[in-house]
Each structure stands twice: as C-alpha cells, then as structure tokens.
Symmetry: C2
Subunit: 275 residues, 2 copies
C-alpha cells in the first residue's frame, strides 16, 4: 500500500519509521533538507516539498501543526480522489473534522496520545506509538471502510484504538492535556530566577514543569482551537485557587485537610493505587 505522510516532524516521521517495513512511504515536508535527510536515512522512499506526490495513495496522513491542518487538507485534496483515505494527527478535532469533512468525504480525524516535549524529525522514533492510544473521531456520515482503514494504520504503528465523537474528544482533552499544559506554562512565571538554585530542584518540580518545555507554536494553536472548552476550565481552576487561598489565609485546618484529601484520593484512584 502507498502511504503519504505530510509533515515529517516528531509524529509524521515516527509513523514513517513505524510503517516503513509494511508500506511504500512518500513523505512531504516544507523543508527540503528534512525531505532529503528522510530519503537518505531510508525513512521514506519517495519525497518532495510538493503535495503532488500524494497522488495514488491508499492513505494520506496530515501530520502538521493544528493551525495548518485544514489549509494543508485543502491543498492535498486536489491531488487525491475518494479512493484515498485522508486522516490527520491533530490534538484538537471538532473544528478540523467539521471543516475537512465538508470538502472530502473520505476524511477521518485521528489523534495519537503520544508525544514528547521536543518536537521535530530529529526526535522521531519507530516505537513512539507502541502501547499508546490512538483516538479516531469520525463525523456522523463517515463510511465504516474509511474508519477501518485508519484503525489498521494506527494498529500497525503499535497503538490501541478508541472511537470518539470529535466534540467529546475536545472536551476531554481540555481536561487531560490542554489545561495541564497551560497551568504548567503559567507556573514558569514564578520560576524565572531559579537558575542559581538549579541543584535544589526536586523530582516534584521537575515533573510538574516538564510539559512547560513544550513547543509554543503547537500549543498556541491548540489553546485557540479548543478555546470553548478551555476558557470555562480556567475559570473553574481560578475559583478553586481562590478557595484554597481563603482556607490557607483563614487557617481552616479541617477544611483544607479534607479538600487536599479529596484531591489526593482522585489522583490515587486514577492510577489504581490503594491510597
């Protein structure tokens, strides 16, 4: 089968590396240097900065930043017909699925729950999706054959599949992923002059702030795209901080202990600990 991957960054190049034994892989990237490198390293067998190479593909994957997915889809659609199944790998889904579905019926959105703070071809790896979940977000009218084809694609990369409505996906991801990133970024406002105390930073600080090193352009686009879900969550979170602030200021020992206990309980229940 012919698989074209548009965007040879962390996600796209990792897919190519995972699939190269079982598919004829064409790669498209706006950087001709990256295309050349991927060809030289045997990660792709055909490569170009031009989307025309997608022509005749069984599957096309758009693995570019969230803010560019719809535009990229519009461009590549000119080179393929409905026998090609088109998917993307964006971290938000509602707006993307709605837009592309109108133009191209063989589109199925997807989102692999995998990544690292450091983006780019250089950090790609064949086993990035092994043991990960891939969420597939069909629209109401998406054909089952297209869904099955994208399911097989992610399974071949080593991922397990979850099918989900695009709006449910975005609401869930706002809590699971987008808010943690926003809150971790914001905590850097407090950490500006810590460099001289680097040796004192413990595992708690390191893990809590790890995602603040994430790619700013990617996350800017995600925050904009999922604004409708994120803004109310920011409000709820600020309400909660205000509440905790009052408990601390007014020395409400039992209330504060109960609140922290309920939160510790939620965290422990999520990860299956007994306490």
């Amino acid at each position: 089968m012919k698989l074209t991957i548009i965007g040879l960054g962390l996600i796209g190049a990792s897919m190519a590396k995972a699939m190269k034994a079982t598919a004829h892989i064409a790669g498209v990237d706006e950087s001709s240097r990256i295309v050349r490198q991927a060809l030289e390293e045997g990660v792709i067998v055909e490569g170009s900065t031009d989307m025309a190479v997608a022509s005749g593909s069984d599957v096309v994957v758009i693995a570019v930043p969230v803010g560019s997915i719809v535009d990229t889809a519009r461009k590549v659609i000119r080179h393929i017909d409905e026998n090609t199944v088109l998917t993307d790998t964006g971290s938000t889904k509602a707006r993307i699925v709605e837009s592309i579905d109108l133009d191209f019926p063989s589109f199925v959105g997807s989102h692999p729950i995998a990544g690292k703070e450091y983006p780019g071809y250089a950090h790609s790896q064949a086993d990035l999706f092994r043991g990960a979940m891939a969420i597939i977000t069909p629209a109401g009218n998406t054909r089952q054959g297209c869904i099955d084809s994208i399911k097989r694609l992610w399974e071949s990369c080593g991922a397990s599949i979850r099918i989900m409505d695009p709006f449910v996906h975005d609401r869930l991801m706002a809590v699971i992923s987008h808010m943690p990133h926003l809150l971790s970024y914001a905590s850097m406002r407090l950490a500006d002059d810590l460099r001289i105390h680097r040796q004192l930073l413990g595992a708690g600080f390191r893990d809590f702030t790890r995602i603040a090193a994430s790619d700013p352009v990617m996350w800017r686009d995600i925050f904009f795209d999922n604004r409708d879900n994120i803004l109310p969550l920011i409000d709820t979170y600020m309400e909660e901080l205000k509440h905790l602030r009052t408990l601390i200021e007014e020395n409400k020992a039992q209330d504060l202990q109960d609140t922290l206990s309920s939160y510790a309980h939620i965290r422990r229940a999520l990860y299956g600990h007994s306490r």
Copy 2:
C-alpha cells in the same frame, strides 16, 4: 555515636536505614507497632514510644510532620543537654528555627530535598538521600560545631549540603515545591470524572498530577506554615492565568506565542537543554 530519630516515617526510617552501619540508632515513634517492626528488622537497636530514650544522644533528629516539630522539640529537650545536637527535617524552616532556637541553643534546622508521594515507614529506603541535597538553615547565633555535626550527618546519608538562611529557604521552597504541590492538588478539581478515560491519560497528565497524591496532612501544615510566601505567589499565578485567558479569548496569536516561548525557554534553561 548515638543517634536518636524521632518519627519513623519515610524520612526518619530512611535515615535510620542509611546510618545503621555507622551509628547506634534509637528510634521513637508514637506507634508502638512501628517501633516493634523497626527493632525486629534491625533498622534501630533501641526503640520506644517515649522520648526518654534520646538521653545521652550525640545527635537527635526530629522527623515528624511540620505541624508537630516545635511541640516535639519542647518535649525531647527535657531529656537532652547542650552536648546533644538537635535537628529537624521539616519542609519549612523560618518559624521552626525561630521557635526552637530560643529554647535550645544546640539546635540546627535542616531539610533534605527528598521524598516520595507515599509517606510512612513502609516506603522508607536506605538510599533515599543518595545524590539529594540537604539544606541546613542555622540561626544567626548557631555554633559552627553544631552546623558541622549536622553536615556530617547528612553527608553520611549520601546527601550534598547547602547552607541557607531560614527565611530565604522558605521563600525559595514556596516557588520550587509548595506552589507546584498546591497547583497540582487544585487541578484535581477538574479531573473528578476521568476514571472511565483512564487509558487515555498520557505522560503529561501523569507527571503534572503526580504530586497531587501527596500526604494531605503534611501539605496542609506546610501551606499554613509558609503562608506568608505562598499567598502572594497564588495572587501572581492567578494574575498570570487571567493574562493567558485574555490572550486566548482575544485571539492574540503573537502575544500568546511570545509568552509561551518565554516560559518554555525558562523551563529549558533550568534543565540545561539547548532549546
């Protein structure tokens, strides 16, 4: 040398395990079951629920929760004289050092930067402090001999030493440790109904929320004790969230990207990455 450790929880029992080859260790805990277990397992050679066993010690370590350290010090002081050096392991220092220093001149506060989400004797381990930092926070009038003695104690446990003013310590820890814990706890307010989506939780969520599983009583006491530093930091953080909220709501692409970039830059600089 005779070393008495009061409180055989994660920190106290880990110290006992680290030091048992080189010191005669007496252990005190309010739970007679824990004392008996520590004796049976050879972690301590003398044990009691009564602080009188501290009598004649070269060093006494108070390893009880922050909220009980000053009370515990008052009780143990009756059984020791100035030839015994007294220290504690609390995560806050200003109030503790000020209080105990008045009553007992051979006191030197300390704080090992080590721990786990799960407290208690059962989770203690001999190598908990290996490669960690221990901060020693003398008062203005503390004798050098006492400082040196506590320095040697932590070095024997495998830690490196930093000497710091108790007030500077608390200001720094509010940023490095107390705020991340508070913010991680608060994020559980959003995560209450995630259990059915457990499989979708990625590494970002897991690491960001890990410290929300921390001991609620311990953290309640720390938040109260370091209130003066924590309350203004909560205000600054809420200001920052409001700012980010506005940028997202008003679609300020360049501003949001610049802000996130500056935060990613701070995080990357702290951990020595080039980007």
